[in-house]
């Protein structure tokens, strides 16, 4: 028993005197509580709905009713036939309500067409709740009406016809796996030298900060790119993940994405005393990046302040671009727009990493 107490005492003392372990125990859970309590709202998103109807009057009635629904935001005025579906295809709306010409006394020969809900199903976690709400409201309304014939309601899901929840995750997973690997490996790069005893010698060898940084980064950028391509290939091969848009442009983005995250890890590593401390830094970076990127929860459901923080993470831009390209078939321009924030991050983090990497041991 005395030995057990002795070991427990030593473990406790070591834990309390290791700041990195202490961070793991207290700060990370505190941070998670803060994020989940204040920012993560998986079901709280506002669904953008566009309405198209044969006459403005027919659409206006529905528009008035939908405006009263919490969680629904109407986009623009009532559009002409096909206009709402076009708004979904253009990314302006999440759901389109296409109301047909209904057979009536005024239009006795109108074909008996269904009401169409055209849904952007690329991110079903966001839109399926809206579909369910509209579906329920429609049949509640129909039940209260005196007309014998109520047009049926059909749901057309664009980009992801079966509303497969795995597709948006797989598209985002390319970025998430790369981010975690690159930040972790970057975090170990210098801390491992320091703990392994090679750092001091490395500092006495010729070559500046940039030489060391580039030499360290190159293999990992190649590894990260290969990892991203593997996830994409596995997703497409095993889970039928679509590869619709500018896939080559997206693949060309992978080295940049890997490089940014390696440099983030490298900058952490340059200031971390031990590998454990560096890995704590990695967790401290990628946890909020993952939670605020829109990978796990729809980005649109985050409060504005959390969205602003989320936009500072390269992962947020990558996840959006990957989903747009792979699921929605977006072109190279989407990838270019995602590349800009990453290029800015690369410059900022690169400068930070080079600065943080001291050439001295004091």
């Amino acid at each position: 028993m005395k030995r057990i107490v002795a070991i427990a005492r030593v473990e406790t003392l070591r834990l309390l005197r290791t700041p990195a372990a202490f961070t793991l125990i207290l700060l990370v859970p505190a941070f998670q509580v803060l994020l989940f309590g204040a920012a993560i709202r998986p079901q709280g998103g506002e669904i953008r709905v566009a309405i198209a109807a044969p006459t403005p009057a027919a659409g206006a009635q529905i528009a008035t009713r939908l405006r009263a629904e919490a969680g629904i935001r109407l986009i623009g005025n009532v559009r002409a036939k096909g206009g709402a579906a076009a708004a979904v295809r253009a990314g302006e709306a999440d759901i389109a309500v296409e109301i047909p010409l209904v057979r009536s006394m005024a239009n006795p020969f109108a074909p008996n067409l269904p009401v169409r809900l055209v849904v952007d199903a690329a991110n079903p976690a966001l839109t399926e709740a809206g579909v369910a709400l509209l579906y329920a409201r429609y049949w509640q309304e129909a039940a209260g009406r005196s007309e014998v014939s109520v047009p049926p309601l059909v749901v057309e899901r664009l980009f992801n016809p079966q509303a497969r929840p795995d597709w948006p995750f797989l598209a985002g997973l390319i970025g998430v796996t790369m981010m975690i690997s690159m930040v972790m490996l970057g975090c170990l790069s210098l801390a491992r030298e320091r703990e392994g005893g090679t750092w001091e010698t490395l500092l006495t060898l010729p070559g500046g900060r940039l030489t060391l940084l580039l030499g360290k980064a190159l293999p990992y950028v190649a590894i990260g790119t290969a990892q991203g391509l593997s996830v994409l290939a596995i997703g497409a091969g095993l889970f039928a993940l679509p590869t619709r848009g500018a896939v080559l442009a997206l693949c060309a983005l992978l080295p940049l994405f890997a490089g940014v995250h390696f440099l983030i890890g490298y900058a952490i590593s340059a200031r971390a005393a031990t590998q454990i401390a560096a890995l704590q830094g990695a967790v401290g970076f990628y946890l909020p990046a993952m939670l605020l990127s829109g990978f796990l929860y729809p980005f649109e459901t985050l409060p504005l302040w959390a969205q602003r923080i989320g936009l500072t993470f390269p992962l947020t831009h990558f996840v959006a671009a990957a989903r747009d390209v792979l699921l929605r078939g977006a072109g190279a321009r989407t990838v270019m727009l995602a590349a800009w924030p990453m290029l800015v991050a690369l410059c900022v983090v690169g400068a930070l990493a080079a600065w943080a990497q001291t050439r001295r041991v004091d």
Partner: protein, 250 residues
């Protein structure tokens, strides 16, 4: 192995001092040596030998003091010409996942050596590493790893060698081998500064600097240090001087 150096003095520093968090690590470290010098830094653990070597290597900026190492200001470590310094840490500093040859090839590449393969082959032959060329350094004994580290430090034939306990943990034969090499290097014009706890090794040197609780004595000869302590050997001299310091402090 030959070296060309035109600096008036390879090391000319005066009054170097360094503290860490209010604790004085070194004070009063002065040294002026030209090419061909073989100097030993001796003294108790924590005396300031390693810190002094690091200041000379440009790994640490002194808090106070002036001078130059290989013509570069000692207060501006970032400007130190690293290609002309061979620094060997006390701790084994090889990549354990790499083979002996890969470690040497890496050092050759970092120093931008012409014909690196030839240089590495020569180093392997010179230091008797042939049997371990393709062994990972993680699998080597401490003695063999230190031999590899020593070979890597000498690979680019630096005019200034700064060695922190290069023979620590080695058997007598290997220690002898290393000191014979150091003497030969000094004879060939290299400047060698090495810290050691083995005072028989220090007696081989033309100069010694005694470190005691962070205070560095002026460089002197082993014989002069013995005379000062009234001792027959350097070993006895060191013990006598250390006890005298402790008594004075008490």
């Amino acid at each position: 192995m030959s070296t060309k150096d035109t600096d008036a003095a390879r090391i000319d520093v005066s009054g170097l001092a360094k503290s860490f968090g209010g604790r004085l690590a070194v004070s009063g470290f002065s040294l002026r040596v030209d090419g061909g010098a073989l100097i030993a830094l001796i003294g108790a653990n924590g005396g300031g030998k390693t810190t002094s070597l690091r200041m000379l290597a440009g790994l640490i900026a002194p808090d106070t003091g002036t001078g130059a190492v290989l013509g570069c200001d000692v207060q501006a470590p970032q400007r130190r010409d690293r290609a002309r310094i061979g620094f060997m840490t006390q701790r084994i500093s090889l990549y354990p996942e790499l083979t002996v040859r890969d470690n040497l090839v890496f050092r050759a590449a970092m120093h931008g050596l012409h014909e690196p393969a030839k240089c590495v082959a020569q180093a392997i032959a010179d230091h008797g590493l042939g049997a371990h060329v393709f062994s990972r350094t993680a699998h080597l004994s401490v003695g063999w790893a230190r031999r590899v580290q020593f070979a890597a430090t000498l690979l680019h034939a630096p005019p200034l060698l700064l060695l922190d306990e290069p023979t620590a943990g080695l058997d007598p034969v290997t220690r002898e081998d290393i000191w014979v090499r150091l003497a030969a290097l000094a004879a060939a014009g290299h400047t060698v500064i090495a810290s050691t706890h083995d005072l028989m090794e220090a007696e081989r040197c033309e100069g010694v600097i005694l470190f005691d609780s962070g205070r560095a004595d002026a460089a002197t000869t082993p014989a002069a240090l013995c005379q000062r302590a009234g001792a027959a050997t350097l070993d006895a001299a060191l013990i006598t001087l250390a006890r005298a310091t402790a008594k004075a402090a008490a």
